[in-house]
Protein backbone atom coordinates (compact mmCIF):
# COMPACT_ATOMS: atom_id res chain seq x y z
CA UNK A 1 0.00 0.00 0.00
CA UNK A 2 1.14 3.52 -0.78
CA UNK A 3 1.00 6.56 1.49
CA UNK A 4 -2.38 7.75 2.68
CA UNK A 5 -3.90 10.71 0.85
CA UNK A 6 -7.08 12.74 1.38
CA UNK A 7 -9.38 12.45 -1.61
CA UNK A 8 -12.85 13.15 -2.85
CA UNK A 9 -14.73 10.01 -3.87
CA UNK A 10 -14.77 11.17 -7.49
CA UNK A 11 -11.01 11.74 -7.49
CA UNK A 12 -10.43 8.33 -5.92
CA UNK A 13 -12.33 6.70 -8.80
CA UNK A 14 -10.20 8.51 -11.37
CA UNK A 15 -6.87 7.78 -9.68
CA UNK A 16 -7.78 4.14 -9.00
CA UNK A 17 -8.75 3.59 -12.63
CA UNK A 18 -5.41 5.01 -13.75
CA UNK A 19 -3.53 2.85 -11.23
CA UNK A 20 -5.43 -0.21 -12.46
CA UNK A 21 -4.11 0.46 -15.96
CA UNK A 22 -6.92 2.41 -17.62
CA UNK A 23 -5.52 5.01 -20.04
CA UNK A 24 -8.69 5.99 -21.92
CA UNK A 25 -11.40 8.18 -20.46
CA UNK A 26 -14.34 9.63 -22.39
CA UNK A 27 -17.00 11.70 -20.70
CA UNK A 28 -19.31 14.64 -20.60
CA UNK A 29 -19.66 16.87 -17.53
CA UNK A 30 -22.60 16.51 -15.15
CA UNK A 31 -22.99 17.24 -11.43
CA UNK A 32 -22.18 15.52 -9.06
CA UNK A 33 -19.45 13.53 -10.84
CA UNK A 34 -17.57 16.24 -12.76
CA UNK A 35 -14.44 15.83 -10.61
CA UNK A 36 -13.84 12.45 -12.26
CA UNK A 37 -13.48 14.21 -15.62
CA UNK A 38 -11.60 17.18 -14.11
CA UNK A 39 -9.05 14.84 -12.51
CA UNK A 40 -8.65 12.86 -15.73
CA UNK A 41 -8.19 16.08 -17.71
CA UNK A 42 -5.30 17.05 -15.42
CA UNK A 43 -3.69 13.64 -15.11
CA UNK A 44 -4.11 11.75 -18.41
CA UNK A 45 -1.99 14.09 -20.58
CA UNK A 46 0.87 13.77 -18.07
CA UNK A 47 0.97 9.97 -18.33
CA UNK A 48 0.38 9.56 -22.05
CA UNK A 49 -3.29 8.64 -21.65
CA UNK A 50 -6.38 9.96 -23.36
CA UNK A 51 -8.88 12.36 -21.82
CA UNK A 52 -11.57 13.38 -24.22
CA UNK A 53 -14.63 15.48 -23.48
CA UNK A 54 -17.09 14.06 -25.98
CA UNK A 55 -19.89 16.04 -27.60
CA UNK A 56 -22.45 14.04 -25.63
CA UNK A 57 -22.88 11.11 -23.25
CA UNK A 58 -23.90 8.93 -26.19
CA UNK A 59 -20.72 9.78 -28.08
CA UNK A 60 -18.63 9.04 -24.97
CA UNK A 61 -20.02 5.52 -24.43
CA UNK A 62 -19.49 4.70 -28.11
CA UNK A 63 -15.87 5.89 -27.88
CA UNK A 64 -15.52 3.42 -24.99
CA UNK A 65 -16.88 0.73 -27.34
CA UNK A 66 -14.26 1.66 -29.91
CA UNK A 67 -11.30 1.48 -27.53
CA UNK A 68 -12.60 -1.71 -25.88
CA UNK A 69 -12.77 -3.33 -29.34
CA UNK A 70 -9.01 -2.88 -29.65
CA UNK A 71 -8.38 -4.71 -26.39
CA UNK A 72 -7.59 -1.70 -24.20
CA UNK A 73 -9.41 -0.82 -20.98
CA UNK A 74 -11.64 2.23 -21.34
CA UNK A 75 -14.09 4.04 -19.11
CA UNK A 76 -16.73 6.72 -18.95
CA UNK A 77 -18.47 8.43 -16.05
CA UNK A 78 -21.72 10.30 -15.61
CA UNK A 79 -24.64 10.82 -13.27
CA UNK A 80 -28.17 9.44 -13.57
CA UNK A 81 -29.64 11.39 -16.55
CA UNK A 82 -26.39 10.86 -18.44
CA UNK A 83 -26.48 7.12 -17.74
CA UNK A 84 -29.95 6.93 -19.31
CA UNK A 85 -28.40 8.40 -22.46
CA UNK A 86 -25.63 5.79 -22.37
CA UNK A 87 -28.07 2.88 -22.08
CA UNK A 88 -28.05 2.10 -25.79
CA UNK A 89 -24.26 2.00 -25.88
CA UNK A 90 -24.11 -0.22 -22.78
CA UNK A 91 -26.47 -2.70 -24.46
CA UNK A 92 -24.22 -2.73 -27.54
CA UNK A 93 -21.15 -3.34 -25.34
CA UNK A 94 -22.94 -6.25 -23.65
CA UNK A 95 -24.07 -7.62 -27.03
CA UNK A 96 -20.54 -7.45 -28.40
CA UNK A 97 -19.11 -9.00 -25.19
CA UNK A 98 -16.82 -6.05 -24.56
CA UNK A 99 -15.34 -5.02 -21.20
CA UNK A 100 -15.94 -1.44 -20.06
CA UNK A 101 -16.12 0.57 -16.85
CA UNK A 102 -19.09 2.89 -16.38
CA UNK A 103 -19.25 5.17 -13.36
CA UNK A 104 -22.67 6.35 -12.18
CA UNK A 105 -22.61 8.92 -9.36
CA UNK A 106 -26.36 8.98 -8.82
CA UNK A 107 -28.53 12.07 -8.27
CA UNK A 108 -32.25 12.46 -7.67
CA UNK A 109 -34.66 11.71 -10.49
CA UNK A 110 -36.59 10.85 -12.56
CA UNK A 111 -35.95 13.13 -15.52
CA UNK A 112 -33.57 15.99 -14.92
CA UNK A 113 -34.36 15.56 -11.21
CA UNK A 114 -31.85 17.40 -9.04
CA UNK A 115 -28.16 17.45 -8.19
CA UNK A 116 -28.37 16.06 -4.66
CA UNK A 117 -27.58 12.38 -3.94
CA UNK A 118 -29.85 9.43 -4.62
CA UNK A 119 -29.87 5.66 -5.06
CA UNK A 120 -32.76 5.58 -7.46
CA UNK A 121 -30.86 4.01 -10.37
CA UNK A 122 -30.84 0.65 -8.58
CA UNK A 123 -33.29 -0.92 -11.02
CA UNK A 124 -31.57 0.68 -14.01
CA UNK A 125 -28.19 -0.76 -12.98
CA UNK A 126 -29.20 -4.20 -11.74
CA UNK A 127 -31.70 -5.08 -14.48
CA UNK A 128 -29.25 -4.48 -17.32
CA UNK A 129 -29.20 -0.80 -18.30
CA UNK A 130 -30.50 -1.02 -21.88
CA UNK A 131 -32.52 -3.27 -24.17
CA UNK A 132 -32.06 -7.01 -24.48
CA UNK A 133 -31.18 -9.83 -22.09
CA UNK A 134 -28.02 -8.88 -20.25
CA UNK A 135 -26.44 -7.87 -16.98
CA UNK A 136 -23.60 -5.59 -15.99
CA UNK A 137 -21.51 -6.11 -12.88
CA UNK A 138 -22.68 -3.55 -10.29
CA UNK A 139 -20.59 -2.37 -7.34
CA UNK A 140 -21.88 -0.13 -4.52
CA UNK A 141 -19.03 1.55 -2.60
CA UNK A 142 -19.70 2.87 0.87
CA UNK A 143 -16.48 4.81 1.55
CA UNK A 144 -13.93 6.73 -0.45
CA UNK A 145 -11.54 3.80 0.13
CA UNK A 146 -14.09 1.48 -1.49
CA UNK A 147 -14.56 3.95 -4.35
CA UNK A 148 -10.87 3.28 -5.12
CA UNK A 149 -10.82 -0.45 -4.36
CA UNK A 150 -14.01 -1.31 -6.23
CA UNK A 151 -13.03 0.75 -9.27
CA UNK A 152 -9.96 -1.45 -9.72
CA UNK A 153 -11.98 -4.59 -9.06
CA UNK A 154 -14.72 -3.56 -11.50
CA UNK A 155 -12.18 -2.96 -14.27
CA UNK A 156 -10.50 -6.31 -13.71
CA UNK A 157 -13.73 -8.30 -13.52
CA UNK A 158 -15.13 -6.53 -16.58
CA UNK A 159 -12.02 -7.71 -18.36
CA UNK A 160 -12.10 -11.21 -16.94
CA UNK A 161 -15.73 -11.77 -17.97
CA UNK A 162 -15.71 -9.50 -21.04
CA UNK A 163 -18.73 -7.48 -19.96
CA UNK A 164 -19.47 -3.93 -18.81
CA UNK A 165 -19.16 -3.13 -15.11
CA UNK A 166 -20.84 -0.24 -13.32
CA UNK A 167 -19.67 1.51 -10.19
CA UNK A 168 -22.93 2.70 -8.66
CA UNK A 169 -22.08 5.49 -6.24
CA UNK A 170 -24.18 8.46 -5.15
CA UNK A 171 -23.53 12.19 -5.00
CA UNK A 172 -22.48 12.06 -1.35
CA UNK A 173 -19.91 9.34 -2.00
CA UNK A 174 -18.62 11.28 -4.99
CA UNK A 175 -18.28 14.58 -3.16
CA UNK A 176 -17.14 13.60 0.32
CA UNK A 177 -13.50 13.51 1.33
CA UNK A 178 -11.84 10.72 3.28
CA UNK A 179 -8.35 9.31 3.71
CA UNK A 180 -7.47 6.64 1.15
CA UNK A 181 -4.67 4.15 0.72
CA UNK A 182 -4.30 3.92 -3.03
CA UNK A 183 -3.45 0.53 -4.50
CA UNK A 184 -0.13 -0.18 -6.20
CA UNK A 185 -0.15 0.35 -9.97
CA UNK A 186 -1.03 -2.75 -11.96
CA UNK A 187 -1.92 -3.66 -15.48
CA UNK A 188 -3.61 -7.01 -15.86
CA UNK A 189 -5.00 -6.35 -19.30
CA UNK A 190 -2.09 -7.53 -21.44
CA UNK A 191 -1.35 -6.78 -25.08
CA UNK A 192 -2.45 -10.11 -26.43
CA UNK A 193 -6.21 -10.37 -26.35
CA UNK A 194 -7.23 -13.02 -28.86
CA UNK A 195 -10.69 -11.50 -29.31
CA UNK A 196 -9.58 -7.91 -29.96
CA UNK A 197 -9.56 -6.15 -33.32
CA UNK A 198 -5.84 -5.39 -33.53
CA UNK A 199 -5.07 -6.16 -37.17
CA UNK A 200 -4.73 -9.68 -38.60
CA UNK A 201 -1.37 -9.14 -40.34
CA UNK A 202 -2.82 -11.75 -42.73
CA UNK A 203 -2.04 -14.42 -40.12
CA UNK A 204 -5.47 -15.10 -38.66
CA UNK A 205 -9.14 -14.68 -39.53
CA UNK A 206 -10.80 -11.34 -38.73
CA UNK A 207 -12.03 -10.69 -35.21
CA UNK A 208 -15.46 -9.23 -35.78
CA UNK A 209 -16.75 -7.07 -32.93
CA UNK A 210 -20.50 -6.64 -33.28
CA UNK A 211 -23.76 -7.08 -31.44
CA UNK A 212 -25.61 -7.82 -34.65
CA UNK A 213 -26.38 -11.40 -35.65
CA UNK A 214 -28.76 -12.09 -38.51
CA UNK A 215 -29.22 -15.75 -37.62
CA UNK A 216 -31.73 -16.28 -34.79
CA UNK A 217 -30.15 -19.67 -34.05
CA UNK A 218 -26.75 -18.05 -33.53
CA UNK A 219 -28.18 -15.16 -31.54
CA UNK A 220 -29.99 -17.55 -29.22
CA UNK A 221 -26.79 -19.54 -28.73
CA UNK A 222 -24.91 -16.34 -27.81
CA UNK A 223 -27.57 -15.41 -25.28
CA UNK A 224 -27.43 -18.88 -23.72
CA UNK A 225 -23.63 -18.75 -23.51
CA UNK A 226 -23.74 -15.32 -21.95
CA UNK A 227 -26.14 -16.48 -19.25
CA UNK A 228 -23.94 -19.52 -18.51
CA UNK A 229 -21.20 -16.99 -17.80
CA UNK A 230 -23.59 -14.96 -15.60
CA UNK A 231 -24.37 -18.10 -13.60
CA UNK A 232 -20.68 -18.56 -12.81
CA UNK A 233 -20.39 -14.91 -11.80
CA UNK A 234 -23.38 -15.24 -9.45
CA UNK A 235 -21.66 -18.20 -7.81
CA UNK A 236 -18.23 -16.63 -7.39
CA UNK A 237 -18.33 -12.83 -7.39
CA UNK A 238 -20.89 -11.83 -4.72
CA UNK A 239 -19.45 -9.41 -2.20
CA UNK A 240 -21.12 -8.24 1.01
CA UNK A 241 -20.42 -7.06 4.55
CA UNK A 242 -22.02 -8.44 7.71
CA UNK A 243 -22.18 -6.07 10.67
CA UNK A 244 -23.29 -7.24 14.15
CA UNK A 245 -25.25 -10.08 12.58
CA UNK A 246 -24.22 -12.89 14.99
CA UNK A 247 -27.16 -12.45 17.38
CA UNK A 248 -29.28 -10.09 15.26
CA UNK A 249 -33.07 -10.37 15.31
CA UNK A 250 -33.56 -7.52 12.85
CA UNK A 251 -31.41 -7.29 9.71
CA UNK A 252 -30.90 -3.95 8.00
CA UNK A 253 -30.10 -4.18 4.30
CA UNK A 254 -28.47 -1.01 2.98
CA UNK A 255 -25.69 -0.12 0.58
CA UNK A 256 -23.58 2.94 -0.12
CA UNK A 257 -24.18 6.03 2.00
CA UNK A 258 -27.34 4.68 3.67
CA UNK A 259 -25.26 1.81 5.11
CA UNK A 260 -23.18 4.41 6.95
CA UNK A 261 -26.25 6.16 8.32
CA UNK A 262 -27.59 2.74 9.35
CA UNK A 263 -24.37 1.87 11.19
CA UNK A 264 -24.92 4.85 13.52
CA UNK A 265 -28.54 3.79 14.04
CA UNK A 266 -27.48 0.20 14.83
CA UNK A 267 -24.97 1.34 17.46
CA UNK A 268 -27.70 3.46 19.10
CA UNK A 269 -30.32 0.67 18.90
CA UNK A 270 -27.90 -1.80 20.49
CA UNK A 271 -27.47 0.64 23.41
CA UNK A 272 -31.25 0.42 23.84
CA UNK A 273 -31.04 -3.38 23.89
CA UNK A 274 -32.42 -4.02 20.39
CA UNK A 275 -30.58 -6.81 18.60
CA UNK A 276 -30.09 -5.40 15.13
CA UNK A 277 -27.39 -5.98 12.55
CA UNK A 278 -26.75 -5.19 8.91
CA UNK A 279 -26.07 -7.09 5.73
CA UNK A 280 -24.57 -4.62 3.26
CA UNK A 281 -24.54 -5.77 -0.36
CA UNK A 282 -21.31 -4.55 -2.01
CA UNK A 283 -22.11 -6.15 -5.35
CA UNK A 284 -25.70 -5.35 -6.37
CA UNK A 285 -25.41 -7.64 -9.37
CA UNK A 286 -24.63 -10.35 -8.58
CA UNK A 287 -26.85 -9.79 -5.52
CA UNK A 288 -25.83 -11.68 -2.35
CA UNK A 289 -28.99 -13.81 -2.39
CA UNK A 290 -27.55 -16.78 -0.51
CA UNK A 291 -26.27 -14.64 2.35
CA UNK A 292 -29.71 -13.01 2.66
CA UNK A 293 -31.50 -16.37 2.49
CA UNK A 294 -29.22 -17.63 5.29
CA UNK A 295 -29.99 -14.50 7.34
CA UNK A 296 -33.73 -15.07 6.82
CA UNK A 297 -33.44 -18.30 8.82
CA UNK A 298 -31.99 -16.38 11.79
CA UNK A 299 -33.70 -12.99 11.99
CA UNK A 300 -37.36 -12.02 12.54
CA UNK A 301 -37.54 -9.13 10.09
CA UNK A 302 -35.60 -7.12 7.53
CA UNK A 303 -35.39 -3.35 7.13
CA UNK A 304 -34.23 -1.86 3.83
CA UNK A 305 -32.76 1.63 4.12
CA UNK A 306 -32.69 3.20 0.69
CA UNK A 307 -32.63 6.54 -1.10
CA UNK A 308 -35.29 5.37 -3.55
CA UNK A 309 -38.87 4.15 -3.24
CA UNK A 310 -37.87 0.60 -2.28
CA UNK A 311 -36.13 -0.79 -5.34
CA UNK A 312 -33.66 -3.03 -3.50
CA UNK A 313 -36.46 -4.18 -1.19
CA UNK A 314 -37.83 -6.22 -4.10
CA UNK A 315 -34.52 -8.05 -4.49
CA UNK A 316 -34.41 -8.75 -0.76
CA UNK A 317 -37.94 -10.19 -0.84
CA UNK A 318 -36.99 -12.36 -3.82
CA UNK A 319 -33.76 -13.51 -2.18
CA UNK A 320 -35.51 -14.58 1.04
CA UNK A 321 -38.59 -15.89 -0.83
CA UNK A 322 -40.74 -13.60 1.36
CA UNK A 323 -39.99 -15.81 4.38
CA UNK A 324 -39.86 -12.81 6.73
CA UNK A 325 -41.40 -9.33 6.56
CA UNK A 326 -39.29 -6.67 4.82
CA UNK A 327 -39.90 -3.07 5.92
CA UNK A 328 -38.67 0.09 4.22
CA UNK A 329 -37.10 3.32 5.47
CA UNK A 330 -36.63 5.62 2.51
CA UNK A 331 -35.93 9.20 1.53
CA UNK A 332 -35.86 10.40 -2.06
CA UNK A 333 -35.30 13.43 -4.25
CA UNK A 334 -31.83 14.17 -2.88
CA UNK A 335 -32.65 13.67 0.81
CA UNK A 336 -30.55 11.39 3.04
CA UNK A 337 -32.24 9.51 5.92
CA UNK A 338 -30.97 10.49 9.37
CA UNK A 339 -29.77 7.93 11.93
CA UNK A 340 -32.81 8.91 14.06
CA UNK A 341 -35.23 8.08 11.24
CA UNK A 342 -33.61 4.66 10.81
CA UNK A 343 -33.65 4.11 14.58
CA UNK A 344 -37.36 4.93 14.69
CA UNK A 345 -38.04 2.25 12.06
CA UNK A 346 -35.91 -0.25 13.99
CA UNK A 347 -37.85 0.53 17.19
CA UNK A 348 -41.21 0.11 15.48
CA UNK A 349 -40.18 -3.31 14.13
CA UNK A 350 -38.81 -4.35 17.54
CA UNK A 351 -42.02 -3.27 19.32
CA UNK A 352 -44.22 -4.93 16.72
CA UNK A 353 -42.23 -8.11 17.22
CA UNK A 354 -42.78 -8.04 21.00
CA UNK A 355 -46.53 -7.70 20.60
CA UNK A 356 -46.60 -10.72 18.31
Amino acid sequence: MSETVLMKGNEAIAEAAILAGCRHYFGYPITPQTEVAAYMAKKMPKIGGTFLQAESEIAAINMVYGVASTGHPAMTSSSSPGISLKAEGISYLAGADLPALIINVQRGGPGLGGIQPSQSDYFLATRGPGHGDFHVLVFAPSSVQEMADLTGRALHLAWKYRMPAMLLADGTMGQMMEPVNLPEPSNAFGDDNPWAATGTEMKRPHNIITSLDLSPENLEKQNFERFERYKKIEESECLWEEYMMDDAEICIVACGITARVSRNAIVEARKQGIKVGMLRPITLWPFPKKALAAAADKVNAFLCVEMNMGQMKEDVELAIRCKKPVELCSRVGGMIPTPDEVLEHIRQIAEGGNKA
Binding site: I115, I257, R260, M278
Partner: protein
Protein backbone atom coordinates in the same frame (compact mmCIF):
# COMPACT_ATOMS: atom_id res chain seq x y z
CA UNK B 1 -2.28 37.02 15.03
CA UNK B 2 -2.67 40.09 12.82
CA UNK B 3 -5.49 40.46 10.37
CA UNK B 4 -6.51 42.74 7.54
CA UNK B 5 -9.98 44.07 6.76
CA UNK B 6 -10.44 41.46 4.04
CA UNK B 7 -9.19 37.88 4.26
CA UNK B 8 -9.48 35.66 1.21
CA UNK B 9 -9.03 31.89 1.30
CA UNK B 10 -8.16 30.30 -2.05
CA UNK B 11 -6.39 27.12 -3.10
CA UNK B 12 -6.83 23.67 -4.58
CA UNK B 13 -10.35 22.32 -4.22
CA UNK B 14 -10.72 20.15 -1.15
CA UNK B 15 -7.81 21.91 0.56
CA UNK B 16 -10.10 22.98 3.42
CA UNK B 17 -10.94 26.58 2.51
CA UNK B 18 -14.57 26.53 3.64
CA UNK B 19 -13.88 25.06 7.07
CA UNK B 20 -11.03 27.48 7.70
CA UNK B 21 -13.02 30.48 6.43
CA UNK B 22 -15.88 29.68 8.82
CA UNK B 23 -13.52 29.27 11.75
CA UNK B 24 -11.57 32.40 10.85
CA UNK B 25 -14.79 34.42 10.71
CA UNK B 26 -15.84 33.12 14.13
CA UNK B 27 -12.38 33.94 15.49
CA UNK B 28 -12.57 37.52 14.19
CA UNK B 29 -16.04 37.81 15.71
CA UNK B 30 -14.71 36.60 19.05
CA UNK B 31 -12.40 39.65 19.05
CA UNK B 32 -15.55 41.78 19.07
CA UNK B 33 -15.36 42.72 15.40
CA UNK B 34 -18.23 43.09 12.95
CA UNK B 35 -17.75 40.23 10.47
CA UNK B 36 -19.22 39.20 7.13
CA UNK B 37 -18.47 35.91 5.33
CA UNK B 38 -19.03 35.52 1.60
CA UNK B 39 -19.26 32.22 -0.21
CA UNK B 40 -17.95 32.85 -3.71
CA UNK B 41 -17.76 29.15 -4.61
CA UNK B 42 -19.22 28.68 -8.08
CA UNK B 43 -17.69 25.22 -8.55
CA UNK B 44 -18.69 22.93 -5.72
CA UNK B 45 -22.37 21.94 -5.47
CA UNK B 46 -22.05 20.17 -2.09
CA UNK B 47 -20.46 21.13 1.26
CA UNK B 48 -20.82 24.88 1.19
CA UNK B 49 -20.32 27.75 3.62
CA UNK B 50 -24.10 27.68 3.96
CA UNK B 51 -23.76 24.39 5.88
CA UNK B 52 -22.46 26.54 8.76
CA UNK B 53 -25.25 29.15 8.44
CA UNK B 54 -26.83 28.48 11.84
CA UNK B 55 -23.54 28.60 13.68
CA UNK B 56 -22.63 31.88 12.01
CA UNK B 57 -26.03 33.38 12.77
CA UNK B 58 -25.78 32.38 16.42
CA UNK B 59 -22.40 34.07 16.66
CA UNK B 60 -23.67 37.22 14.94
CA UNK B 61 -21.68 36.79 11.73
CA UNK B 62 -23.38 37.89 8.51
CA UNK B 63 -23.33 35.32 5.70
CA UNK B 64 -23.54 36.21 2.03
CA UNK B 65 -24.27 33.15 -0.02
CA UNK B 66 -26.03 32.22 -3.23
CA UNK B 67 -29.73 31.52 -2.79
CA UNK B 68 -29.09 28.42 -4.86
CA UNK B 69 -26.30 26.95 -2.69
CA UNK B 70 -27.25 23.48 -1.38
CA UNK B 71 -30.40 23.45 -3.50
CA UNK B 72 -31.16 21.40 -6.58
CA UNK B 73 -30.35 24.32 -8.85
CA UNK B 74 -26.83 23.95 -10.17
CA UNK B 75 -26.39 27.63 -11.02
CA UNK B 76 -22.93 29.16 -10.70
CA UNK B 77 -24.53 32.46 -9.65
CA UNK B 78 -23.13 35.06 -7.26
CA UNK B 79 -25.39 37.19 -5.07
CA UNK B 80 -25.40 40.93 -5.80
CA UNK B 81 -25.02 41.42 -2.04
CA UNK B 82 -21.41 40.24 -2.35
CA UNK B 83 -20.36 43.73 -3.52
CA UNK B 84 -21.17 45.07 -0.06
CA UNK B 85 -18.19 43.16 1.25
CA UNK B 86 -15.87 45.38 -0.72
CA UNK B 87 -17.94 48.57 -0.28
CA UNK B 88 -18.90 48.35 3.42
CA UNK B 89 -15.60 49.13 5.07
CA UNK B 90 -17.09 49.08 8.56
CA UNK B 91 -17.01 45.28 8.67
CA UNK B 92 -14.25 42.69 8.36
CA UNK B 93 -14.78 40.42 5.39
CA UNK B 94 -13.85 36.77 5.01
CA UNK B 95 -14.10 35.43 1.46
CA UNK B 96 -14.35 31.71 0.73
CA UNK B 97 -13.12 31.47 -2.86
CA UNK B 98 -14.02 28.45 -5.01
CA UNK B 99 -11.39 25.78 -5.64
CA UNK B 100 -8.61 25.98 -8.24
CA UNK B 101 -8.39 28.53 -11.04
CA UNK B 102 -11.95 27.80 -12.15
CA UNK B 103 -13.28 28.76 -8.72
CA UNK B 104 -11.01 31.80 -8.45
CA UNK B 105 -12.24 33.21 -11.75
CA UNK B 106 -15.39 34.52 -10.05
CA UNK B 107 -13.27 36.55 -7.62
CA UNK B 108 -11.93 38.66 -10.49
CA UNK B 109 -14.90 41.03 -10.58
CA UNK B 110 -14.23 42.18 -6.98
CA UNK B 111 -10.48 42.51 -7.43
CA UNK B 112 -10.33 46.18 -8.60
CA UNK B 113 -12.08 47.30 -5.38
CA UNK B 114 -9.95 45.02 -3.21
CA UNK B 115 -6.72 46.29 -4.77
CA UNK B 116 -7.79 49.93 -4.50
CA UNK B 117 -8.49 49.66 -0.79
CA UNK B 118 -5.33 47.56 -0.35
CA UNK B 119 -6.19 46.19 3.10
CA UNK B 120 -6.39 42.49 2.38
CA UNK B 121 -4.71 39.14 2.85
CA UNK B 122 -4.94 36.62 0.02
CA UNK B 123 -4.15 33.22 1.52
CA UNK B 124 -3.14 30.05 -0.32
CA UNK B 125 -4.52 27.06 1.60
CA UNK B 126 -2.24 24.07 1.16
CA UNK B 127 -2.84 20.44 2.13
CA UNK B 128 0.11 18.19 1.37
CA UNK B 129 -2.12 15.11 1.66
CA UNK B 130 -4.15 16.08 -1.40
CA UNK B 131 -3.00 14.05 -4.41
CA UNK B 132 -2.60 17.00 -6.80
CA UNK B 133 -0.62 19.17 -4.35
CA UNK B 134 1.69 16.53 -2.89
CA UNK B 135 4.88 18.08 -4.18
CA UNK B 136 6.13 21.65 -4.55
CA UNK B 137 5.96 21.73 -8.35
CA UNK B 138 2.35 20.52 -8.52
CA UNK B 139 1.34 22.98 -5.81
CA UNK B 140 3.11 25.81 -7.67
CA UNK B 141 1.05 24.98 -10.77
CA UNK B 142 -2.20 25.39 -8.80
CA UNK B 143 -0.87 28.55 -7.10
CA UNK B 144 0.02 30.36 -10.35
CA UNK B 145 -3.14 29.20 -12.12
CA UNK B 146 -5.25 30.78 -9.36
CA UNK B 147 -3.31 34.06 -9.42
CA UNK B 148 -3.69 34.23 -13.20
CA UNK B 149 -7.42 33.50 -13.02
CA UNK B 150 -8.38 36.16 -10.46
CA UNK B 151 -5.55 38.68 -10.98
CA UNK B 152 -4.95 38.98 -7.25
CA UNK B 153 -1.52 37.89 -5.99
CA UNK B 154 -1.28 35.77 -2.85
CA UNK B 155 0.20 37.36 0.27
CA UNK B 156 0.77 34.30 2.48
CA UNK B 157 0.47 30.51 2.77
CA UNK B 158 -1.79 28.58 5.18
CA UNK B 159 -0.72 25.08 6.15
CA UNK B 160 -3.79 22.87 6.30
CA UNK B 161 -2.19 19.46 5.84
CA UNK B 162 -4.66 16.89 7.13
CA UNK B 163 -6.05 13.41 6.56
CA UNK B 164 -9.52 14.17 7.85
CA UNK B 165 -10.31 12.16 10.99
CA UNK B 166 -6.98 10.27 10.74
CA UNK B 167 -4.87 13.44 11.09
CA UNK B 168 -2.03 13.13 13.57
CA UNK B 169 0.09 15.92 15.04
CA UNK B 170 3.09 14.77 13.00
CA UNK B 171 1.12 15.22 9.75
CA UNK B 172 0.51 18.86 10.65
CA UNK B 173 4.17 19.35 11.59
CA UNK B 174 5.36 17.75 8.33
CA UNK B 175 2.81 19.91 6.53
CA UNK B 176 4.28 23.04 8.07
CA UNK B 177 7.76 22.11 6.83
CA UNK B 178 6.29 21.56 3.36
CA UNK B 179 4.44 24.90 3.54
CA UNK B 180 7.65 26.68 4.59
CA UNK B 181 9.58 25.14 1.72
CA UNK B 182 6.78 26.18 -0.64
CA UNK B 183 6.64 29.67 0.87
CA UNK B 184 10.37 30.17 0.25
CA UNK B 185 9.87 29.30 -3.42
CA UNK B 186 7.16 31.96 -3.82
CA UNK B 187 8.87 34.37 -1.38
CA UNK B 188 5.90 34.67 0.98
CA UNK B 189 5.43 33.96 4.70
CA UNK B 190 3.44 31.07 6.25
CA UNK B 191 0.61 32.77 8.12
CA UNK B 192 -0.62 29.85 10.20
CA UNK B 193 -1.01 26.09 10.60
CA UNK B 194 -4.56 24.80 10.98
CA UNK B 195 -5.74 21.58 12.59
CA UNK B 196 -8.66 20.23 14.55
CA UNK B 197 -8.91 21.73 18.03
CA UNK B 198 -8.61 18.15 19.31
CA UNK B 199 -4.91 18.33 18.43
CA UNK B 200 -4.43 21.65 20.29
CA UNK B 201 -2.53 20.20 23.23
CA UNK B 202 -0.17 18.24 21.01
CA UNK B 203 0.49 21.08 18.58
CA UNK B 204 0.52 24.17 20.80
CA UNK B 205 4.29 24.66 20.81
CA UNK B 206 5.19 22.42 17.89
CA UNK B 207 4.06 24.71 15.06
CA UNK B 208 4.23 28.47 14.81
CA UNK B 209 0.88 30.30 14.72
CA UNK B 210 -1.32 27.29 15.41
CA UNK B 211 -4.93 28.00 14.46
CA UNK B 212 -7.32 25.43 15.99
CA UNK B 213 -10.45 24.75 13.97
CA UNK B 214 -13.79 23.15 14.66
CA UNK B 215 -14.60 20.71 11.89
CA UNK B 216 -18.13 20.64 10.47
CA UNK B 217 -19.61 17.24 11.23
CA UNK B 218 -21.73 15.41 8.67
CA UNK B 219 -24.51 13.44 10.32
CA UNK B 220 -24.41 10.57 7.86
CA UNK B 221 -20.78 9.77 8.61
CA UNK B 222 -20.08 7.15 11.26
CA UNK B 223 -19.50 8.41 14.75
CA UNK B 224 -15.95 8.06 16.00
CA UNK B 225 -14.99 4.54 17.02
CA UNK B 226 -17.57 2.75 14.85
CA UNK B 227 -16.02 -0.33 13.31
CA UNK B 228 -16.68 -2.15 10.07
CA UNK B 229 -18.16 -5.63 9.89
CA UNK B 230 -16.86 -8.75 8.20
CA UNK B 231 -16.51 -8.48 4.44
CA UNK B 232 -17.38 -11.68 2.57
CA UNK B 233 -16.53 -12.87 -0.90
Amino acid sequence: MNHKRLTLFAGHYGSGKTNIALNYALWLRSQGLKVTVADLDIVNPYFRTKDGAEQLKAAGVRLISSDYANSNVDLPALPGEAYSLVDDKSACGVIDVGGDDRGALALGRYVPGIREENDYEMLFVLNKARPLTRNIDDALEVFYEIEAACALPFTAIVNNTNLGPLTKAEDVIAGERFAQEFAERVKLPVKMSCASEKLSAELQNKVSNFFPIQIMQLYYMEKEGTSLGKINL
